[in-house]
Amino acid sequence: MIKQFFASLLLFGWVVIAQAAIFAFDFDDPKKEARFMQFSAELRCLVCQNQTLADSNAGLALDLRKELYRLINAEASDKEIKDFMVSRYGDFVLYNPPIKATTYLLWFGPFLLVSIGLILMVRVSRKVGQQTTQTLSAEDQQRVQQLLAEKKEN
C-alpha cells in the first residue's frame, strides 16, 4: 500500500512537471491533447538524453514538441508520428524501442541473465542438499560414537 502510495505520488509529480513544460500548446480537442502528452512522454530529447521531450527545456525539445503539435493537429497516425521521428533521429528517440535484431540483447538480455542465475541457483542448492544427506561410513560412525563417549566421560 505504502509503495503504491509513493508510486502514485511520483507519477503525479511527473505529470505536473510534464504539464508545466508543455503548457504553451493549446488544443481544440482533449483527445489530441492526450495524444500530445502521450507522445511527448515517449520520445527522447537527444540533447539531454535522459529526459523526454515533455520534460526537457532544450531548444531542440521545444522544436520537436512544435513538430509534434503540428503532426497531431494534422491528424497524423501513431505510425506516421513515430516514423517522422525515427527517420530523422533513429530508434534511439523511442523510449520504447522496437524488437529487432539490434535490440534483442536489450529486450531479452535480462531474461537470459535471470535464467542463468536460476540454473546456477538450482545446481548449487542441489549440491548442498546432497552434501547434507550424505551418510557417514561405518568407520566414521564408530569414531563419532567413540568421541562422544569420551566427551561424556570427561
Partner: protein
C-alpha cells in the same frame, strides 16, 4: 577433474568478461547516436543564403560533386574550435564546404564569421527556425555530413571536425567518394 580445476577461476572469468564489456562501454560516447540518414538521399530543402537572402541553397546543389555540409551557429562554442580547421580545409580546395547556419540571427552569424577569421563556406543556408535542421536529424551543433556525387549522405561527423577525425576518417571517405563514378 577438469571442471574442478577450473572452479577457482570462475569468478576471475566472470570479472574479465564484465571488465571487457564495461571497458568497451566506456569508450563509446552516448552522445553519438548513429544517424538513420546514412546512405539516404539528402533531405529536401531550399533556404535563403546567409549572405544573400534573395538567393537560395537547396539539396540539388549537392549533386555532381562530393561535398561537406557543415551545421554551425554563432552561439555554438565547439564551432569556434572547429572554425579555424574548416578555414584551413577550404584553402586546400579539397572539397567544397556548404554551411547550414542553424537557429541563428543573420547579423550574429555574419559578424561571427568576420570575428573568427573568415568564411570557409561556398555558401551557407540560413535555417532561422531550425526546421531544416530537424529534417537532417541535427541534435547537436556542430555536425558535418559527407555527401557523395549523387547527393546521398555517406557519413556524419557529430561534434567538431579536428585533425584526428579528419585524417583518420573524413578525408579517406572524401577521397574514396571522389573516386566513385558520378
Amino acid at each position: 577433474m577438469s571442471t574442478l580445476k577450473l572452479r577457482p577461476f570462475i569468478p576471475l572469468i566472470i570479472f574479465l568478461v564484465m571488465a571487457i564489456f564495461l571497458g568497451i562501454g566506456l569508450t563509446l560516447d552516448p552522445r553519438k547516436v548513429p544517424s538513420p540518414l546514412i546512405n539516404k538521399a539528402s533531405p529536401a530543402f531550399s533556404l535563403p543564403l546567409l549572405h544573400a537572402a534573395d538567393k537560395k541553397l537547396s539539396h540539388t546543389d549537392f549533386i555532381g560533386k562530393v561535398s561537406l555540409f557543415n551545421v554551425w551557429s554563432s552561439w555554438c562554442a565547439a564551432c569556434r574550435q572547429e572554425h579555424s580547421f574548416l578555414l584551413n580545409v577550404s584553402r586546400q580546395n579539397i572539397v567544397p564546404i556548404y554551411g547550414l547556419n542553424y537557429k541563428d540571427k543573420r547579423e550574429d552569424a555574419t559578424r561571427w564569421l568576420i570575428q573568427y577569421g573568415g568564411d570557409p563556406y561556398v555558401a551557407s543556408a540560413h535555417d532561422l527556425d531550425g526546421r531544416v535542421g530537424i529534417d537532417w536529424g541535427v541534435y547537436g551543433v556542430p555536425e558535418t555530413f559527407v555527401i557523395d556525387k549523387k547527393g546521398t549522405i555517406r557519413y556524419k561527423q557529430i561534434g567538431p571536425v579536428n585533425d584526428q577525425n579528419w585524417t583518420e576518417t573524413i578525408l579517406p571517405i572524401i577521397k574514396q567518394l571522389q573516386a566513385e563514378a558520378s
